[in-house]
C-alpha cells in the first residue's frame, strides 16, 4: 500500500501525517508513507486544499485532518 500525505508543512499537515503514522501502526498495515510538500506536486495531483490524503492513488481526504479512527477505517477497507 502507498499512502501519500500532501501538505506544505502547516500544523494541519503535520497532524495528518502523525495520524496516518499512528493508524498504520495500530492496524499493522504494510505501507509506504510518502510526504509530498511541493505545492506544484500537490496541485498536479488535483489537490487544491491541503492537507490531502491519497491511498493507492485515490484521493481520500482534502482540506481537513482525518482522525486516527477514520484513517484506520480506510486502511482496513
Amino acid at each position: 500500500m502507498t499512502i501519500e500525505v500532501l501538505g506544505t508543512g502547516c500544523m494541519k499537515c503535520k497532524r495528518l501525517l502523525k495520524n496516518v503514522e499512528k493508524a498504520v501502526e495500530e492496524t499493522k498495515t504494510e505501507a509506504e508513507i510518502i510526504k509530498i510538500e511541493d505545492i506544484n506536486e500537490i496541485m498536479d495531483r488535483g489537490v487544491m486544499l491541503t492537507p490531502g490524503l491519497i491511498i493507492n492513488g485515490e484521493l481520500i481526504v482534502s482540506g481537513r485532518v482525518a482522525d486516527v479512527k477514520e484513517i484506520s477505517g480506510y486502511l482496513l477497507e
Partner: protein, 139 residues
C-alpha cells in the same frame, strides 16, 4: 508561536476552509488555574487551529447562557477537557444536560498536577494527540 509555513489549506490554518461533511465539534477546556487546567486551554486552542473543533468557554457555559447551551446541544460532538479528577468541566456540562461524546482528563494521561502553572510543548502534544487518537470516547 513560530511563524507558520505558507500553506494551501484555504485559511490561516484553522479558520475557514471546507466544512461540508465534517463533524462539528465544540471543545470545552476546564481552564483551571493549575498546570493541567492551563494545559486544557492551550490544547483546546491548538485543536481549534488544527481543525478538530472549536474551543468554547466553559465559564460562559456555567452561567447557563442560552446561546452557548443551545450551541453545545446542537453540535455533532462535544469534547470535554478536564485537567484533573475533579472533572469541573464535565460536571458543568452534566448539570446542563449536555452529553459529551469525548471526555479527557489530563492527569489520566500521565501528566502530574502541580502547584505551578508550567507545562511543556510535549505536554500539549500528549493531550492533543490523545484527542486525535480517539481517547476518552465511549466504545
Amino acid at each position: 508561536m513560530a511563524e507558520q509555513p505558507v500553506c494551501s489549506c484555504g485559511s490561516s490554518c484553522g479558520e475557514g476552509g471546507p466544512t461540508e461533511g465534517i463533524v462539528q465539534r465544540l471543545i470545552f477546556p476546564c481552564a483551571g488555574v493549575a498546570n493541567t487546567g492551563q494545559l486544557t486551554n492551550c490544547a483546546a486552542i491548538q485543536l481549534t487551529e488544527e481543525g478538530y473543533g472549536k474551543a468554547a468557554c466553559i465559564a460562559l457555559l456555567a452561567t447557563g447562557a442560552e446561546g452557548i447551551v443551545r450551541a453545545a446541544k446542537d453540535a455533532d460532538e462535544v469534547l470535554i477537557l478536564d485537567g484533573c479528577a475533579a472533572r469541573c468541566a464535565g460536571k458543568i456540562a452534566d448539570s446542563l444536560g449536555i452529553c459529551a461524546e469525548q471526555s479527557i482528563v489530563v492527569t489520566e494521561l500521565g501528566i502530574e498536577k502541580k502547584g505551578s502553572r508550567e507545562y511543556t510543548d510535549d505536554d500539549i502534544e500528549t493531550v492533543v494527540s490523545a484527542v486525535w487518537e480517539g481517547e476518552g470516547r465511549e466504545e
